[in-house]
Symmetry: C2
Subunit: 488 residues, 2 copies
């Protein structure tokens, strides 16, 4: 879990000069104070500054950058907006960070064939904003959608509140263009629904940058539903809310979203947005159904009845589009609101079978007491995907340690309950050590072989996703890339 943060020498002339030749002076950041911005992503627990950050604007520039890294034997890591919550963009071993935020064009929109072609640095919500009024939208909506990029969503196979009905990113990606770690350009999939051969599109999605640098994405567009009903169910306890969830799903209803927020998070949201959330409720469910007007009315009625049968104190219905928008704003900005509770926080990401939610929540409470850490919860309840948020102050080393230990215990418990260690944030650097608990040696060996097929020299996004020999990965990088220091 520890990553060395001592910086290698910053004598980068040959490489930096080469990169400037490719993208121009304004496309390269090499000054130590400017590089600090890139020392971590949304996972603030571990830090490592890249040696240089480069901002390509075309696929050809990405090819040239990757070729330069290969010739000079320097590792490289792609990055979008840096909203990864698992250290997915941490430049372990230093090297070149390829920041794709200047490749943000919408290249094509085909409503007739229901796809769009976008560059990887496009911010998720910008695509949906662009489509407003067309009757279509891009379905995956991570909570960070106002900042995160579609390329980053591809890397981590992001989910979001609407995953329950609409699926995760891989269900909405028809194809990718990527620069392979050897500098060749490939296209997997494309605008047509059915692509023969191995499903390399599906494999690339969720590979966390270890298979190459994505430079173009064909995404599926989803028709806007004719109608929504958005409800807020207020429960005395988390257990009662969980039972209501099981009853809703058990009744054969698949809500478009089914989100739970506990007392801690509701308090923070209320302070921030003054929505009128009850501060004394144990849990609040945000439930949305969508579809035909007649169908959503019927489903909403059944949901209200099921919530009441399972002890809901009250079920409120959003009566206007602006009430609905405010409810979603609360949910999506929950993470921002946490700023009011604590200087730093770590959002964990685990999965349990939906029916084990009460058990894992009891365990989280016990872990909170054990480590003296405040933990609040907001999560995709319908999927059994939990997001305990561990509050701490990163200036205190012992609190950082406690956060790591508590997070690990919660994830181990998820495994023990038949779940897994990430629902949507990915493995990154944060969870590498847990992969051994989840997979047998044989399965990890196959994963390693597949990675080697794409990334034989290990220069692309090193020490991500799979455990490597030698512990923290830095030694591994140093060992495998003796040329790096020389080139710099």
């Amino acid at each position: 879990m520890s990553v060395q943060t001592a910086s290698p020498p910053r004598v980068l002339h040959p490489l930096v000069e080469r990169l400037r030749g490719i993208v121009g002076n304004e496309g390269v950041i090499g000054r130590e104070d400017e590089l600090l911005v890139y020392e971590c992503d949304g996972y603030v627990v571990e830090k490592k500054t890249p040696d240089v950050v480069v901002f390509p604007e075309t696929t050809e520039q990405v090819v040239a950058i990757v070729q330069a890294c290969n010739e000079l034997d320097v590792p490289f890591v792609p990055r979008g907006a840096g909203t990864s919550l698992a250290g997915g963009t941490l430049p372990v071993g230093g090297g070149v960070m390829i920041c794709l935020t200047r490749m943000r064009k919408i290249l094509e929109v085909s409503l007739r064939d229901r796809y769009a072609v976008v560059e990887p640095g496009l911010v998720n919500v910008h695509l949906t904003n662009h489509l407003k009024g067309s009757g279509y939208h891009y379905a995956p909506d991570p909570s960070s959608q106002g900042a995160c990029t579609i390329g980053g969503n591809v890397a981590t196979n992001s989910g979001g509140p609407h995953t329950l009905k609409y699926g995760v990113t891989v269900n909405h990606v028809l194809g990718v263009e990527a620069v392979m770690p050897d500098g060749s350009v490939v296209q997997f999939g494309g605008p047509c629904e059915d692509s023969p051969g191995y499903d390399l599109t599906g494999l690339f999605v969720g590979s966390e940058g270890t298979f190459g640098v994505c430079t173009k994405v064909w995404v599926r567009l989803t028709r806007d539903p004719a109608a929504y009903r958005t409800m807020l169910g207020i429960f005395e306890t988390v257990k009662a809310a969980t039972e209501a969830i099981s009853a809703i799903i058990g009744a054969g209803i698949i809500p478009a979203a089914l989100e739970m927020m506990d007392q801690g998070i509701v308090g923070a949201l209320e302070q921030a947005f003054h929505f009128g959330f009850p501060l004394d409720a144990g849990a609040v469910l945000l439930i949305e159904v969508d579809g035909l007007e007649v169908a959503v009315d019927q489903e909403a009625e059944r949901i209200v009845a099921l919530c009441q049968q399972h002890g809901a104190r009250e079920v409120r219905m959003a009566n206007t589009p602006s009430e609905r928008a405010l409810l979603w704003k609360c949910r999506k900005q929950a993470f921002g609101a946490i700023g009011r509770l604590s200087p730093s926080y770590c959002t964990q990401d685990g999965v349990v079978p939906r029916t084990r939610l009460p058990e894992i929540l009891d365990f989280i409470n016990a872990t909170s007491e054990k480590y003296g850490l405040r933990i609040v919860n907001v999560f995709h309840a319908g999927d059994g995907n939990i997001h305990p948020i561990l509050l701490f102050d990163e200036r205190h080393a012992e609190q950082v340690k406690a956060v790591i230990a508590a997070g690990d215990e919660i994830l181990e418990k998820c495994i023990a309950l038949g779940g897994s260690v990430t629902g949507e944030h990915g493995i990154g650097v944060e969870k590498i050590s847990l992969m051994n608990h989840l997979f047998t040696e044989e399965t990890l060996a196959v994963m390693g072989d597949v990675r080697k097929a794409f990334n034989p020299d290990g220069r692309c996004a090193p020490h991500k996703m799979l455990p490597t020999a030698g512990g923290c990965g830095m030694e591994h990088i140093e060992r495998n890339h003796p040329g790096r220091r020389a080139a710099m």
Copy 2:
């Protein structure tokens, strides 16, 4: 496209003895007359008899068989029911056919967590039959579902009439256990929805046996819809039917199924089932919507109106479950009915953007005339997935040649129209030569590298999916497996 069919010497003593030791005498077929059954699958155009067929009943037996093949350097190919329409189970290069039809147990059904665990040899429809009355079913329903196995569905990522709404096999497979080509046993995925790491489950599905032998499958169960409406739209021309399809999809309706049958197939069906199909209609659409009672009524009304607006002569509604069942029986047994038209037939499988359906159908008609072959059409119109059925007599070599040439021309046209060469049947041996038209050298190289990661010696399902040097593959096999003759 040609595959040598000359048999290698059948002196198989060391291998056959070893296999008998593993599965017992009754689990091995080595007699020439008995092997004839396995000389082809649903793709009758090319033939090749395996040297021996073995029927394991456990994963451990599969491991022992694979180990024996490796030690004796003999290629092996997994097979389910042999319903592949692309020669997916053709034992190019001979060797051992591992037939999984005796591994057909349903190992677990969890309605609460909505999955089942089955052995690969389980016949697709047996799972849904087993679930009858539970409120759940297994959604992928290939036309061959009464015969094909779930393991075979995994290998080819099978679709079916309900793909339009419910997706293909990969959308319903949560995990697989497989014996790797080196004899190790791995599990990808499992009962839990979210599995971290590379999506090897998704990659394995559709790999046509080239990544190992599937021995267990975790499948998702789908809730039975509350209600159906099943309609038959009768049109004067294929073009009018196609325009109605575009209008339905364009209106934002996603039918559970949207199937088109042309005049030729309707005639054969009517002869077989006496449903009352009009023999003079140019095309018939089978349209089904499912969901809540109130919603299906509204959707069905809109569909009827849209069909009428686009020139439907008549739209019939199935008024009883038995009328619905008969309609589906007609559709699913369309292939059986073709027996009345011709001694042999080859079902092609191509994809075009939905809006190009009229063009490809015109082209198919022209090709039919050019080669003097009768071609009838039944297909998943909603997906743009065409299935022209080329009628011929396999006893006439020149007809076989014409079928291959006409099929290739139709598929090339699909590519030219922005589509692809298979929607659901897979590449098998049939379409290997077309892969070069669809993919760049760079992309094929990545596919080859990935195959090598799983199957470094190429012994598992050789000459499937990817083009190999040396044309027909036989030489390749012979060259790479010099030990094979020696062992036999």
